[in-house]
Symmetry: C2
Subunit: 80 residues, 2 copies
């Protein structure tokens, strides 16, 4: 069944956690990623907390800003 | 930079192609996937063609409906 805005998918929550992990692993602030991606820093913060249903185009944009494969933002990291 | 609605990301186009591949590999129609996912069949058709910026919650929903890892919908298949 589709997810309601009040019940974020597991994938959404995983993506947010992994995005934060990869950002911090690069010692980047939200502002740094905002500058690299062209997205608003508060929007990125909401994504990291799983509060927004990010679209696939912005998944691509954020992955490129962090120089990471988008796939790696959707699976549990083996390096932590 | 963020993507405009008129310039779908590479990831969006890849996802659409892979979704169609995996659906056809299971001999499922758009209507079958609509029934399994609770999403509208014409919406799914637009996703397959890369015409919609699908949200991560619906990526999760469609992957579950096809019983495929969402990661496998975001990388080129090695089995075709």
């Amino acid at each position: 069944m589709p997810h309601s805005p009040n019940s974020p998918s597991d994938l959404r929550l995983l993506f947010g956690r992994r995005l934060r992990e990869e950002r911090r692993a690069r010692n980047l602030t939200l502002e740094d990623v905002a500058e690299k991606s062209g997205l608003n820093w508060s929007y990125i913060a909401q994504i990291e907390r799983g509060e927004r249903n990010i679209g696939i185009d912005n998944i691509d944009t954020l992955a490129k800003a962090l120089n990471v494969d988008p796939i790696d933002l959707m699976r549990h990291s083996s390096s932590y």
